[in-house]
Symmetry: C2
Subunit: 205 residues, 2 copies
């Protein structure tokens, strides 16, 4: 066995199952998705699916974990922490808005919340692999900016949480209660500009 490459976890169809599951879970949520449907979407038999994953929940967890990490990473990696404070906040704000209004963001949030009773570890799993990373990144940025004398903050984590929440004003309830499908650039700008202005009024120097 040459083992030059990391072997695909088990069997050839592992990724195929995951991809099918991702699609169906994102369309239908956890309870809404049937395993037969997932198997069909994955182009795989149900027996094969169950040879990779012990049950539906574990399959869902795998999908959620993988996707969250992917999303949070490449959202935050695009941001240049050396830029002007207002500019960085604008960029972060727009990333946050983009996430909560995205298909994936809506879906994963809804499912985590809705299923959190029958699935208690899911919430924390999601939080740690998504929002938490973003918060840490924001706190890191605050420290840099404070060092530069551009911000003045005593409670760093509170400030990060406040900024995050500010970016959800107006938009979040409309998303979460299924009241608006798409948001215009103007709507996004209004909220992010408002968040940055408020944040700087409080913590700017």
């Amino acid at each position: 066995m040459p083992d030059g490459v990391i072997e695909p976890k088990r069997g050839r169809k592992f990724d195929q199952v995951l991809a099918g599951a991702r699609q169906v879970f994102l369309d239908d949520g956890f309870e809404g998705a049937s395993v037969d449907e997932i198997a069909r979407a994955a182009g795989v038999s149900k027996a094969t699916l169950y040879s990779y994953f012990p049950d539906k929940r574990m399959l869902f967890m795998e999908v959620a974990r993988t996707e969250c990490a992917r999303q949070a990473e490449n959202a935050m990696d695009t941001i240049d922490m050396d830029a002007d404070v207002a500019q960085v906040l604008h960029r972060i704000g727009h990333e946050i808005v983009a996430f909560i209004t995205s298909r994936f963001g809506k879906r994963i949030f809804r499912t985590c919340v809705g299923e959190s009773d029958r699935f208690p570890e899911l919430g924390r799993e999601f939080y740690d692999s998504g929002p938490k990373l973003v918060r840490d990144k924001i706190v890191g940025f605050f420290q840099i900016a404070i060092g530069r004398g551009e911000l003045q903050i005593d409670d760093l984590t509170l400030a990060a949480d406040q900024f995050h929440e500010l970016c959800k004003a107006d938009i979040f309830p409309r998303v979460v209660f299924n009241m608006t499908e798409e948001f215009t650039d103007a709507e996004r700008k209004r909220v992010v500009d408002g968040a940055v202005a408020m944040f700087l009024a409080r913590y700017g120097t």
Copy 2:
């Protein structure tokens, strides 16, 4: 038929059914609650239950509507709009935190979010009979305070939404992702004080 009193909607057991449904839905959510369980909790036969409500969804809607209105009303009615701005904001902030950390708040939110696919009108129903009322109340207060020269706000609804979101900083994710059961007074105070300070830094005169 003397009709001196408004007759109880239909039959004697209407309220009994509603009370049972309220209890079980609040414990188990919509999908988690079984109609048999509701009937048992209400001390009523299933047939009787179905003589009052055409199906489970309508029963849930009735419970949600009734409860939301009740909650939103008596939360906001306790607030004296003539007091000092900072004081009013503190009171409103604590009411908001109290709601989102309450058993009812958690439960209704989770259910609305989780069920919003198979139940699209539920989200708006909830929003209109709860958060919307609060927002209108806050906007009303802003207008008074602006008249008094104590606040300076151009986009009133955005400001109201911002304040609402600020009061959820830190607490909301911990509630929604099932990470914290109870919050101390210190935790609540930290968030509400932070929200008021930030709000006044931006909009205070």
